[in-house]
């Protein structure tokens, strides 16, 4: 029972002048279950008759509303009752002290259990109460029962698989399964192995035999439905092992079983509650949200939740960080290569599998995968001067995690010329002459000359920005480094559902900013959805209908009716549209409508891979 509930009960009965609930019911503190049941029933009937009575209303309502809770406290979980309301009960204090002393001195083993039980019997406590006290105090003291398999919190191990039982098995079926398993484990010839298996079985059975613990376990299990791959694998291994072992093939090692169990138990840290939504953003705008103050270090990079709510959420999200200032400038010796190391940090939690890729042949990562367990790792990138297309070349090494985070690192390499060493010599001479100005000049000559870049602003954000067929980035604003000064190159901007934009560009010494607007594909290539398209409701297309005045304005005030059909893929991105018009120039209307459709937010329809909807825009009525 929760502390809150216990306190509520205590407050209520204290308010009526009774120290304990049983005193209120007129029963002695050691009343048996039948007497308590009878008293509860009688008082409840009284409450039902008196619930409208102004004098007893509050009391009667409390009894009616808390009936289940009281029953649970007084009968089903009597030990909790004794624990909470039995303060000052000398017998209980004696038992508690004894248990605490025994567990901390000798640990929790069969011998200490026997001693404690004996005392419990002498003090006339029920076995279940003594057992509960041992468990509660062991929890407090963080003492584990000797011989228990360490099943972590038994959070991730599938106790059902251990018993080879179905998840929805009844209590009787479970017990039968447990007994069968137990007999099998006892029959193992290897005593050590047998002991391990029995311990694991015992732990699983402790959970499953108690309906409440089983329910809690089930709830926990479901949440872990999408546990990580390793866990799944572990589960399969365990299942296979048990299946094999069940057919008395004892050559397989039970140690594997326990190892699998341990692995799955790993990382079962208590989960925080689900995260809260969020900060409001100015309604109707895509503006940046109110930026919160810097977060405390310990809560950064994980999900944070509020205090209530039954659902749990995975908190272990890795977070990629590449602490390097881009572009990276690398000065190569005149001929030859060097190794440059790229530091990759996991700032979040959990595993961070991923890879490192390069888009040019002269940048070669020494390995293309990330060590998923490393908090911090260095990936050596070999810069091969000989393969560079010119003296100065730009390439990108991109770190991509399997969680979808990516950090591109642009590397600009320059091969040294003969001038370099000459300058160095000159500088040394200048230094030798004590010329401080010479030093300044040396520094200046080492600083890279300004490189012209192409700054692209893409609306909507491009899914891929390619330079000469190689992907260099994505997003709403991309900075493209030309392959070489004065050399023409081809950029291509892509986004699903929009016409790709291609352009040849030659950059001179100065940088260039360029805004590109991607146009929606005109005619629908009906996306091959599986099954019927989900139909988009009128409210979804409401913004489109509401935009009629803007469209009319765009058309220079022309009237008429427009039928607009819109299709979207499963992710909700608009794939295209089709227009039919009455008394209107459809060709002229297309770009106008397209601009609206492009930014239309279409909720993904559940269970359909694509959706389709139609809206009628009446341009006659609008001013």
């Amino acid at each position: 029972m929760e502390k809150r509930e216990l306190e509520e009960i205590e407050r209520f009965f204290a308010g009526l002048g009774h120290r304990t609930p049983l005193a209120y019911y007129g029963l002695p503190e050691d009343a048996d279950a039948a007497a308590i049941e009878a008293a509860l029933k009688k008082r409840r009937a009284w409450a039902q008759g008196q619930q409208a009575n102004p004098k007893y209303r509050n009391e009667a309502l409390f009894l009616i509303k808390s009936n289940t809770m009281m029953r649970r406290l007084l009968i089903e979980q009597h030990d909790e009752y004794v624990e909470h309301f039995g303060e000052g009960n000398p017998r209980l204090t004696e038992l508690n002290d004894f248990v605490r002393k025994h567990l901390s001195d000798t640990g929790w083993n069969p011998a200490s259990e026997v001693a404690i039980r004996a005392l419990g019997k002498r003090l006339e406590f029920e076995d279940s109460l003594v057992e509960a006290r041992i468990q509660a105090i062991a929890r407090d003291l963080n003492v584990k029962r000797e011989g228990d398999a360490d099943l972590g919190d038994l959070g991730v191990i599938d106790a059902y698989e251990l018993l080879a039982a179905e998840h929805n098995a009844s209590a009787a079926e479970l017990e039968a399964a447990y007994r069968a398993r137990y007999r099998w484990a006892r029959s193992l010839k290897d005593h050590e192995k047998s002991g391990q298996v029995l311990a694991a079985l015992d732990a699983a059975w402790r959970i499953l035999q108690n309906p409440e613990r089983r329910a809690a376990y089930d709830a926990h299990r479901q949440e872990l439905g999408e546990a990580t791959e390793e866990v799944e694998k572990g589960a399969r291994a365990l299942g296979e092992l048990l299946a094999g072992a069940g057919s008395s093939e004892e050559s397989r090692s039970s140690a594997v079983l326990l190892e699998a169990v341990r692995q799955r138990g790993m990382g079962t840290t208590p989960r925080p509650e689900p995260p809260a939504l969020s900060m409001p953003m100015p309604a109707g705008s895509d503006a940046v949200p109110l930026s919160p103050p810097p977060l405390a270090a310990e809560i950064q990079g994980r999900t944070i939740g509020l205090a209530s709510g039954p659902q749990m959420v995975r908190d272990r999200a890795p977070r990629l960080k590449v602490p390097v200032k881009v572009p990276v400038l690398i000065q190569l010796p005149r001929s030859g290569s060097l190794n440059w190391s790229l530091r990759v940090v996991n700032e979040g939690q959990g595993r961070m599998p991923g890879k490192v890729v390069s888009d040019v042949p002269w940048l070669v990562p020494s390995r293309d995968w990330l060590d998923p367990l490393a908090r911090q790792q260095d990936v050596v990138v070999e810069v091969l001067g000989g393969l560079m297309p010119g003296r100065i070349a730009t390439g990108t090494v991109t770190v991509v995690t399997d969680h979808g985070q990516r950090v591109p690192v642009t590397i600009e390499a320059r091969r040294a010329t003969l001038v370099g060493p000459l300058l160095a010599l000159l500088a040394l001479l200048a230094l030798g002459a004590g010329g401080w100005a010479g030093m300044q000049w040396w520094r200046a000559s080492q600083a890279p000359p300004p490189v012209a870049v192409l700054r692209l602003t893409v609306d909507p954000p491009a899914e891929a920005v390619m330079v000469d067929g190689a992907r260099v980035g994505a997003g709403a604003s991309v900075e493209v480094r030309p392959p070489g000064a004065g050399r023409p190159f081809r950029i291509r901007l892509e986004r699903a559902g929009f016409r790709p934009h291609e352009e040849m560009i030659t950059l001179g010494e100065t940088s260039l900013s360029r805004a590109v607007r991607l146009e929606l594909v005109d005619k629908l290539e009906w996306p091959g959805g599986e099954g019927e398209p989900a139909s988009l409701s009128g409210s979804t297309l409401r913004p489109l209908v509401d935009a009629a005045p803007a469209i009319k304005k765009c058309l220079g005030g022309a009237g008429g009716n427009l039928h607009v059909r819109v299709r979207a893929d499963g992710s909700g991105a608009a794939l295209g549209m089709d227009i039919e018009g009455e008394g209107i120039d459809v060709a002229a209307a297309r770009p106008c409508v397209g601009r609206v459709v492009r930014v239309l937010a279409i909720p993904a329809a559940e269970g359909a891979s694509w959706s389709q909807g139609e809206a009628l825009l009446d341009l006659n009525g609008t001013p």
């Binding site: 008759g49 004098k55 940046v288 919160p292 990079g301 709510g309 659902q311 908190d315 969680h403």
Partner: protein
């Protein structure tokens, strides 16, 4: 789809009494008497055996004999999840008990009309919250009704009253003091549209509280005389309660009443004058007065702008209530409507306006006015209340059938969302403000509060307030399996509140278009399995 003339029952499910009404082919809305021939049915259940019970006056009589097996005032406990009563080893929730009352009404209606009656519109106090509305709708479903909508009691009362005054521009105040609930609503009649402007009330204030005051008064005076308290024993308490209830009713028409008390061999007759009664209940009345003033303030009106005050609910028969309203408004309350029946009548009418656009009565009206649509309003204006004396829409004064009426209800509680502000402190943002006309569709854009969140939880709140303690969280929607992204990632939340008082909430991840939709209200409280089981139980139960 049901036939256009299939009957929809308008049901006033009250704390102490319930009533039902339906619109006939000619557009007249009739109260349907129960099997015993009474216009109203006491909302009281007596269980005399396992799954066997009596509803109505018979049950009221049994309260003195067998109080633990009698259910009264169940409406006050609607929407309370922990409130469970037990009779003959079977437990019942407030929904199931209300369903038993509704089953009785349904059976009686079918008996009287000779046809199955499957559809209903049920009224609730305007101040009922989402959980209470939801429980009421559940009760209707358990009783075997297809509940077409839930409407507010004052709105229904105003419809039954305002139908005769359509075509005029009037502001009306509906003062609804029932057996257990209290509501004040200001409504506007503009042509053929009825609009709720503001509403407030108390779901736990009603005639019962007046009874209790009288009971306490009598019991105290008995106690001072004999040192014994008749409230201590269930049976004498129930007897005394019945006597006080009747004394309260007679004090409405007579200056003095005597309440006999008989307890443990002692007898007393406690006299109570109307002045005394008004004295011990003065604070209850001033609560009502405060509520009226608050509602007017919310409606941004003065008492002088109120054209009519309409009374609904039996407790408005008390002279003190009428005197107070006269003092406040400076005019007599409207007497043309029957306070016990007008809510059910209004519900019956609203059912037709809302769910039977092709009802024969509406058709007849359209045909009659097809040639002269301009005349419609003037003709209606001529229809004074005395001309039709409660028989709404009757073919008097040249009217045939029912005119089409537009009813605009409002959200009576603000609905909001729990968010974190710039300092990561919780606060509430109201997406649907109080008195937003229904249906409404409000959206708000929010964002990840932290980096790498994999799920967002939208907690739906009801009530006024800036923080969690001041509001009630009525539901939550969790959108999970989101890719981890930086804070500021936008999330869109849409609240859609329909005229049937159902709230739909969509939570959409703007970037990935993942969406989760939840329905709070009609189908929120218990799951379908439990519901089917309970429905079967109510169907099987022997109800007489």
């Amino acid at each position: 789809m049901a036939a256009e003339d299939e009957i929809i029952l308008g049901i006033d499910l009250g704390t102490t009494f319930s009533a039902m009404a339906f619109v006939d082919r000619h557009g007249k809305c009739n109260i349907l008497p129960n099997a015993e021939g009474h216009a109203t049915t006491a909302s009281v259940i007596h269980f005399y055996d396992r799954e066997a019970c009596v509803v109505g006056e018979e049950a009221v009589k049994m309260v003195v004999v067998d109080a633990p097996n009698v259910v009264r005032f169940i409406k006050r406990y609607m929407g309370e999840p922990d409130f469970v009563l037990e009779f003959f080893g079977k437990t019942y929730t407030p929904q199931e008990l209300s369903a038993i009352i509704l089953r009785k009404l349904k059976d009686d209606a079918e008996e009287a009309l000779g046809t199955p009656v499957n559809e209903a519109v049920i009224t609730v106090p305007a101040y009922f919250n989402a959980a209470q509305r939801s429980a009421t709708a559940d009760a209707g479903a358990l009783a075997g009704f297809n509940v077409l909508s839930i409407i507010n009691e004052p709105t229904a009362a105003a419809i039954s009253y305002g139908l005769e005054r359509l075509g005029t521009d009037r502001n009306i105040l509906v003062f609804d003091l029932g057996g257990g609930t209290f509501d004040v609503t200001v409504m506007e009649i503009r042509g053929t549209s009825l609009r709720t402007v503001a509403s407030d009330g108390n779901a736990e204030l009603g005639g019962k509280d007046w009874d209790d005051r009288l009971l306490n008064h009598v019991a105290d005076s008995f106690q001072s005389q004999f040192g014994l308290d008749p409230r201590d024993d269930p049976q004498p308490y129930q007897e005394l309660y019945e006597r006080c209830l009747h004394a309260k009713i007679s004090l409405s028409t007579k200056p003095r009443a005597v309440i006999p008390v008989n307890y443990r061999g002692h007898r007393a007759a406690v006299p109570v004058t109307r002045e005394e009664f008004e004295g011990i209940t003065a604070d209850l009345l001033s609560q009502c007065e405060d509520t009226c003033n608050i509602v007017l303030e919310k409606a941004r009106m003065q008492w002088s702008q109120i054209d009519d005050v309409i009374l609904a609910g039996g407790s408005t028969r008390m002279p003190m209530v009428r005197a107070m309203l006269q003092r406040l408004s400076g005019k007599e309350a409207v007497t043309g409507v029957n306070p016990d029946e007008c809510v059910a009548v209004g519900a019956g009418l609203a059912a037709v306006f809302r769910h039977r656009s092709e009802h024969p009565a509406l058709q007849a009206y359209r045909v009659a006015h097809a040639t002269k649509p301009e005349v419609q309003l003037t003709e209606l204006t001529a229809l004074t209340p005395s001309a039709s004396a409660g028989a709404v829409g009757s073919p008097a004064g040249g009217t045939v059938g029912l005119p089409g009426v537009r009813i605009t209800d409002v959200a009576t509680h603000p609905l909001g969302i729990v968010v974190l502000d710039g300092t990561l402190k919780e606060r509430i943002i109201n997406l649907i403000p109080e008195f937003t006309p229904l249906p409404c569709d409000k959206r708000g854009r929010f964002a990840y509060a932290y980096d790498n969140m994999t799920a967002v939880r939208v907690e739906i709140t009801e009530g006024h307030g800036e923080n969690r303690d001041e509001v009630v969280v009525i539901g939550e929607v969790i959108l999970d399996h989101l890719p981890p992204r930086p804070r500021g990632t936008p999330i869109e939340v849409v609240y859609r509140y329909t005229v049937n008082q159902i709230l739909e909430v969509d939570v959409t991840d703007v970037e990935t278009r993942q969406m989760r939709r939840a329905r709070i209200n009609l189908r929120g409280s218990i799951n379908e399995d439990q519901k089917a089981h309970a429905r079967e139980r109510i169907r099987r139960a022997s109800i007489t």
